[in-house]
Amino acid sequence: MNDMFVVAKFTLKDMLRRKAFIISTIIILLMIIIGCNIPNISKSFKGESVKAKILISDKNNIFENNLNMLSNDDNEIITDNLSIDEIKEKLLSNEIEEAVIVDKVDNNINFKYIVKNAMYMDGSPYIVDLLSNLYKEIQISKLNLSNEEVLSINPAFNYEIEQAEEEANGNVFVMMILSIVLFYAVYFCAFQVSSSITTEKTSKIIETLVTSTSPTNIVLGKTIGIGLAGLLQLILIILTAIFSVNMFLDSELVSSVLDMSSITIPLGLITLLYFILGYATYALLYALTGSTVSKPEDIQSANTPVAMITMIGFYISYFTMLNPSSNMNMIAGFIPISSPFCMPFRIMMGFANVNEVLISIGILLLTIFVISSITIKVYSNAILNYGSKMSFKDIVKMYKQK
């Protein structure tokens, strides 16, 4: 046990000293900080105003000079009676974001909405709804009605949403991001185990190492050491993200997009547990492939099957998360290759009960035990194999060897 921690400590120190690890961590942290500063950067380019400029052409003064009432924090209304060609020119030169030409024919009011690209438009534009409401208000005000009469004609419409399926508690967006972060953390961290094992074979240090401690201590010590480095990186990323969001982003904007109330300490702990178990599953698979090659150039091809399993696991979890109440998502929570990415999401959404969580963790632990015993056996028998990459048949032979 002591030797395992000596190997883990040495591996952790080695990982933290690697230039590639340091540089990739700095790049990720910078990307987070820059990402959170994009609204500020865009403000500094556009000046303080980030309002959308909307031009309204009302030749017949249908809105009776009331159009400026539509200006708010998001929109700046510009009134100018330009021709359609002049408006298009302003759109193409990015002077305005959108434009509306208002016209009255008989009793009908026609709106011509002009935008740079209408490809992704779905339904009527928001400004058209605003104009319709403004017109109604102007006409009602002319009737000299009492407040009650106005309210009876134009009451405030409140609505709430009720769904037939089981209700989700949490924030899908936050968990989707967390799943992706978990996937990358597990994937890139676990991959390092394979590379670390092959490097020891390439540098021929392995023979000295196996006479100093057991293969079990080497495989598990390496897995723990690299896992700790990955965990430190993950914690650093999360802390930087929290700091950057609070420091650089508008709190109202953040709360409208991310509902942080559903991110609790127990959920954080369970996510951490799934990261550890998911990492251990994939790291031990990568340790298996790493011990079957002895040349750095063979690592990538040896790792391809595990990389594919990782991708499949992630996509199963990701696509079933789009419909979290489905049976498919429930099954994904039990499959050991997808459960680490999927189960924290299900727990936060309130879809997974205690039994499901325990079964899912049990399956993962069993998988880790099976993979580690196969990996340690193959590693023990394959460490002195300095030849070319081993085939699947060779791996089975190594496993069966005494």
Partner: protein
């Protein structure tokens, strides 16, 4: 006491070590000889538990040789270091794996670094060291924890004469300190210099084993060195002896036994040629090795 008794190992259908027995009952350097592929490294790997033997027993003081029970050191044939890691860090790592405390490890590293003259490299990454210095670091790794049994697989290969002398002195001192050393080497003169007992393997089988001096004594003389002040080529021819080498009237001549040598000396003296030097030699270990393995020493 180290005992290797009737040990065998096969890979598939190929028997690479066939019923080998070795016994070391006192501190010494034991020579393990053989051509490439003779089974030396496989024997060492079985001795250290890296490979599992198919049959036989390997014991140290009556106990099976196991990392946990026997304090051994190993310099493998395949040299290896962590290229990017500082020498001191990797030495401390292996010392800790051998159960040493940090303080003891540092004391031992400093002592050995001084003896092997590698002190200046301790804070450098291994990749910046020459091959010879990397090899000395590996030797240091093998002895850092003061092992009782030391296995050195080709310890001198790749070392320059200066470093070879440093390592030779260290090995002699280790034996004086009571260490049991098994050494595999290709350089026969090195084995002759160090080893009391040897075993020669060929294709996994023992072809010769025992005390090196006794083995050599059991062989008849096979060579004459003679230096004269005149040319004696015709005399050598007339006696039908095989000339191995000659430079400026100094000759190395192959003989079947000592009598051939004395006949040559007699004839040279009778021809009134002055003899400056005359020596009858026993076969070298290299001669015995070549005779036993039936091929050239690689």
């Amino acid at each position: 006491m180290l005992k290797i008794e009737n040990v065998s190992k096969s890979f598939g259908n190929k028997k690479v070590v066939d019923n080998i027995s070795i016994c070391m009952d006192k501190p010494e350097v034991f020579g393990l000889l053989g051509t490439n592929g003779a089974g030396k490294t496989t024997t060492i790997r079985m001795l250290l538990g890296i490979l599992k033997k198919d049959s036989g027993d390997i014991t140290w003081n009556g106990k099976a040789v196991d990392r946990k029970k026997v304090n051994f050191g190993y310099l493998p044939e395949e040299r290896g270091v962590y290229p990017k890691v500082k020498i001191i860090e990797q030495l401390k790592y292996f010392a800790e794996l051998k159960g040493m405390s940090k303080d003891d490890a540092i004391k031992s590293i400093n002592k050995w670094a001084k003896l092997l003259k590698v002190e200046e490299y301790l804070n450098m990454p291994a990749e910046k060291l020459s091959k010879g210095n990397q090899q000395k670091i590996q030797f240091l790794t093998a002895v850092i924890h003061d092992p009782e049994l030391i296995v050195l697989d080709e310890p001198f290969s790749g070392l320059d004469p200066v470093n070879t002398e440093i390592l030779k002195k260290v090995i002699i001192d280790l034996v004086k300190e009571g260490k049991y050393i098994i050494m595999s080497a290709h350089e026969m003169h090195t084995i002759e210099e160090f080893c009391t007992n040897v075993i020669i393997l060929n294709k996994g089988k023992t072809v010769l084993k025992g005390n090196l001096r006794s083995i050599k004594e059991s062989y008849p003389a096979n060579r004459v060195l003679i230096s004269t002040n005149d040319n004696i080529s015709n005399i050598i021819k007339s006696l039908k002896l095989e000339l191995e080498n000659s430079v400026d009237n100094s000759y190395v001549i192959k003989i079947k036994d000592e009598n051939d040598g004395y006949k040559l000396l007699d004839k040279v003296i009778k021809s009134n040629i002055k003899v400056n030097k005359f020596e009858i030699e026993k076969p070298t270990l290299n001669d015995i090795f070549i005779e036993k393995v039936g091929g050239k020493n690689e």
